[in-house]
Symmetry: D2
Subunit: 101 residues, 4 copies
């Protein structure tokens, strides 16, 4: 099964400027999915098959509404590589770091 790497950023509107608690609600949904992920200061990176990743992102987005948001702006970037190179979050960072030293 082909794996993608996706970065998602969920911005609730109308919920004030301190939104980390809403982001945390979405991340709890992600944790229950069992998918591999990494939190960064600008989003959440998720690794897995397209269907599982997208279903989980939809659940995360819904959770932010259920937690009180009235408008949500969700951004998503997908890297999908099928040229035979193995894909993982770690390998992508390592590939750049090796060329820096």
């Amino acid at each position: 099964m082909n794996k993608i790497i996706a970065e998602v950023s969920i911005i609730p509107l109308g919920a004030g400027t301190s939104i980390s608690w809403l982001v945390a609600e979405a991340v709890k949904v992600l944790q229950e999915s069992g998918l591999k992920y990494q939190l960064t200061s600008m989003g959440t990176i998720i690794e897995g098959p397209w269907g599982e990743v997208m279903d989980t992102i939809q659940e995360m987005h819904e959770k932010v509404f259920q937690s009180g948001a009235l408008r949500v702006s969700t951004s998503l970037k997908i890297d999908d590589r099928r040229d035979g190179k193995e894909v993982s979050m770690e390998r992508k960072v390592k590939a750049v770091e090796e060329k820096l030293s």
Copy 2:
């Protein structure tokens, strides 16, 4: 059924610098979906229910691989509003334009 407005941008890698023919292949898939859309110089804006929009974006993304790309970077931004205000591509632009004049 709640409608979202989504903007999608699909960038094929390893297919040279002239990629409009690959974008056109993806847009043909979108046209067959029957969803309302608008082409812009930086992406394609689609309006519809989450499930239909996302399924269509997956098909567009797959089509770019089937047309020869070996790696695809797909970006997506979703605006989902549930505060009772009616949502459409036209209304969003009009809401800003009215405040400019």
Copy 3:
């Protein structure tokens, strides 16, 4: 002078869910710049040299703070092409549309 095409989307946080008046304040700044632009339902597309475009985006971003926002999330995508093909917002859309018919 090399021209870029940039799409900018400015999201004010802590300003409620109806933000078109804040977007309009930013667009007024853009109008004063004299740069070519197009409003879409998901952002604003701007055409011009890097320096002018970026200075204008900074002024738009600042304007949203001056108008009352306390936190602003600004997204930007730049298409910069230097392979000899002429670049413009209209040509990019036309290049795709020609391949659809």
Copy 4:
């Protein structure tokens, strides 16, 4: 001086599917800037004042052309917060993680 947190992703077109060496060239420019940054599998997060961050991103973008790319798609997301809360890459991640446990 107000600090922003920005995430930048630079995609060279017409340079094949293995682009980590081009990303590494851009990161070398960033390292020379002295700005605080973090590499992730989907982009590079940079912290600093608007002017310094943007000048560095322009240099990174130019470097990718100088290294051989003919077209470059650069995406950027800026988080700018002026509600009195201290801003840093670490604090943003910590704020979410504290609410998860």
